[in-house]
């Protein structure tokens, strides 16, 4: 089992880097989008010269913006879920449920990811392009496939760790999803709001 946990930790470290790099690309695109809208508004309103192809560029960029943060979000537990019931589960039962949920999610993302590769092929073969600037669409679709591939590995890490914990319910979770109480969740939100200032944060678990 220690081999498995070591492998999990090592893969987790590498994959965290990959996810952060993907999220950074999306962040740069978001900054570019912000700057572009300002330039467009000034150019159109003051100089009466709208930038050509704004909608084209935004459409292509949105694919990357929408998907490149998806795996990092899964890692930090950012995707919305209802924790009312899992919060009450403990030990083996909890990890069986978590493993089943991760495996189902993995199956879905792998299926859609494979389908998205088909969509890239078609877009490339027919030379699909945007309306205005005639930019090729396939690179934007590749971004979707890449992001789903990165997410698949993250979901696999979650599933494997949950399965490991069904065997060893007392072991420390490594990459499995974590369940937070409402008070924990509140504490995270507070940390977020204050940028992790530890001064007055002393939350007792109220649930």
């Amino acid at each position: 089992m220690t081999v498995i946990s070591q492998a999990l930790s090592a893969t987790d470290r590498v994959w965290t880097g990959v996810e952060n790099a993907c999220a950074a690309i999306a962040a740069v695109l978001i900054a570019a989008a912000m700057a572009l809208t300002v330039v467009e508004v000034i150019s159109r309103k003051i100089f009466n010269a709208p930038l050509p192809g704004m909608i084209d560029m935004f459409e292509l960029g949105m694919a990357a913006i929408a998907f490149f943060g998806v795996s990092q979000c899964q890692r930090v537990g950012g995707h919305v879920r209802m924790e009312m019931i899992v919060r009450r589960l403990h030990g083996r039962l909890l990890w069986i449920v978590e493993a089943a949920m991760s495996l189902l999610a993995l199956f879905f993302i792998v299926s859609v990811g494979l389908a998205s590769i088909g969509a890239v092929e078609r877009a490339y073969v027919v030379q699909d392009s945007t309306m205005d600037l005639l930019l090729p669409i396939w690179p934007a679709k590749v971004c979707v496939s890449i992001a789903l591939a990165v997410l698949s590995v993250r979901l696999a890490l979650e599933a494997v760790d949950s399965l490991r914990l069904t065997v060893l319910p007392d072991a420390e979770p490594i990459t499995a999803a974590r369940v937070a109480s409402v008070a924990d969740h509140a504490r995270e939100e507070i940390d977020e709001a204050f940028g992790g200032d530890p001064g007055t944060l002393d939350l007792a678990d109220k649930t």
């Binding site: 952060n20 999220a23 950074a24 999306a26 962040a27 978001i30 900054a31 989008a33 912000m34 700057a35 809208t37 508004v41 909608i55 935004f58 960029g61 949105m62 694919a63 913006i65 929408a66 998907f67 490149f68 943060g69 998806v70 990092q72 979000c73 930090v76 950012g78 995707h79 919305v80 879920r81 209802m82 009312m84 019931i85 449920v97 949920m101 189902l104 999610a105 879905f108 993302i109 299926s111 859609v112 494979l114 389908a115 088909g118 969509a119 934007a140 979707v144 409402v182 509140a186 504490r187 939100e189 507070i190 977020e192 709001a193 204050f194 940028g195 007055t200 944060l201 939350l203 007792a204």
Partner: protein, 440 residues
């Protein structure tokens, strides 16, 4: 094997409810059930083809680019030095009223929550800014804690509001019209909160003693001027949309650039926090849009089953006044809002509820405002009531029970506000109807 589509729809909906209850991420739960349903009804290849197509087709849209912009405004707002100034400005005007500090808290939280779009984070920040001042002045802790927890909920109606954008996208209504429609109800909510405080403190002066010295008019103007950031962002969104000068994405981009500039100029803000805001925006955008495209896979499946139409017909044929049905739907949202994140809940249920609302002849823009208001109420009601946990988390000396009890009167006021909006829909619809923008 042939599957009865209607039965598949019912089973799929139950499976989705089960997976969500068992803690599966809402996005993936909607996606797997939608995909499974499409496979059952249409076969493996067409189902996968459709699901693969939706990932790109439903995200690579100009209309969606408003979302990262609004999220960015919210995340940068925390570093722009707006909160203290908003409270100082509000206090300058309302400090002398009965319960003046609490009234100031209402308007400062409303303004900041609107810009940040984050109910919970607003509650956290103002627990630190205005609660100490209220307690020092001798306010009842219930009032002090309640007003901060409730004030955060004003985030979703006053523009910019990401949740209204999502509602608009999922039901395919004008995002601009929705954003404008939220403004007056949001301000009305704040005014009614303030009225409630003034009335309660007038009856029982000891719960909110007045300690604020008179402030000269010129100083009031000066304090207001210092909180120009909030006014500029909300103003950009309102004016940009109302005049039709800018698209929702553009008001978002210009608003974000304004807050970005403020954060850069704010010397107290560490530079890495600004960079983090962009990365966090990427993550939150991916989270929200994952729900959008996954729910749309589920919606395609539901479309083949005919379930939403059948439900709308059935409810439309009931021998009950439509107002009763509307109230039942709103009550359901309030109850669901107590257990499930508002955003996930809205996106999951709207594909089924929207056709019902349309068949009843209600205005979809107006309904969107009501639903968002109901969801916000869930943020302060037990058992989860995250905002109350936040207040208690920042100030452990104020018991959780005290916060929940303090919020009670504001919840009643919110229900009263919803009643007003139902009785006079024009309060919601007047602004979008008069705007200079085609389409609505």
């Amino acid at each position: 094997m042939t599957v009865d589509p209607f039965l598949a729809g019912v089973l799929g909906t139950l499976a989705l409810a089960l997976l969500v209850a068992l803690g599966m991420r809402v996005a993936w739960a909607a996606g797997i059930v939608g995909l499974g349903g499409l496979v059952a009804l249409r076969g493996w290849d067409p189902a996968l083809g459709l699901a693969g197509l939706l990932t790109y087709a439903e995200t690579a849209r100009y209309s969606l680019s408003v979302l990262p912009m609004f999220i960015l405004i919210g995340l940068l707002a925390f570093h722009a030095g707006m909160t203290q100034r908003a409270f100082a400005a509000a206090r300058a005007w309302t400090g002398r009223l009965p319960g003046g500090l609490a009234v100031a808290t209402v308007f400062a939280t409303a303004g900041f929550a609107a810009v940040s779009g984050a109910s919970t984070a607003t509650a956290a920040v103002f627990t630190r800014i205005s609660v100490p001042e209220m307690l020092k002045a001798g306010y009842d802790p219930r009032l002090a804690a309640g007003v901060v927890a409730a004030g955060g909920t004003l985030a979703s109606l006053i523009p910019p509001s990401a949740i209204l954008v999502l509602y608009g996208i999922i039901v395919e209504e004008s995002v601009g019209a929705l954003l404008l429609a939220g403004f007056i109800p949001g301000v009305l909510s704040a005014i009614l909160y303030a009225g409630l405080i003034v009335a309660r403190v007038s009856l029982k002066p000891e719960i909110g003693p007045s300690t604020v010295e008179p402030i000269a008019f010129a100083d009031k103007i000066k304090a207001t001027g210092r909180s120009w950031g909030i006014i500029a962002v909300i103003g950009t969104v309102l004016v940009g949309l109302y005049t039709g000068w800018m698209t929702p994405t553009e008001v978002g981009g210009v608003g974000a650039a304004l807050v970005f500039a403020m954060a850069i100029l704010n010397r107290k803000t560490p530079r890495h926090k600004i960079v983090e805001a962009f990365v966090d925006t990427a993550r939150l955008t991916a989270m929200v849009l994952a729900i959008v495209w996954c729910v749309l896979v589920f919606v395609r499946f539901l479309g083949f089953t005919g379930l939403p139409g059948a439900l709308a017909d059935w409810i439309g044929g009931l021998e009950v006044p439509r107002l009763v049905i509307l109230l039942a739907i709103l009550a359901t949202y309030m109850i669901l809002g107590m257990f499930l994140d508002g955003l996930g809940m809205l996106l999951l249920t709207m594909p089924v509820v929207y056709p019902v609302i349309i068949s009843l002849g209600y205005d979809p823009i107006w309904f969107g405002i009501l639903v968002v208001k109901m969801i916000e109420i869930g943020l302060v009601t037990p058992p989860i009531g995250l905002n109350c946990f936040i207040v208690n988390g920042v100030r452990p000396d104020i018991k959780l029970e005290t916060v929940f009890r303090g919020v009670g009167p504001f919840v009643i006021m919110d229900l009263f506000t919803v009643g007003i909006l139902i009785a006079w829909p024009d309060i919601v619809l007047w602004l979008p109807r008069t705007m200079n923008m085609g389409g609505y």
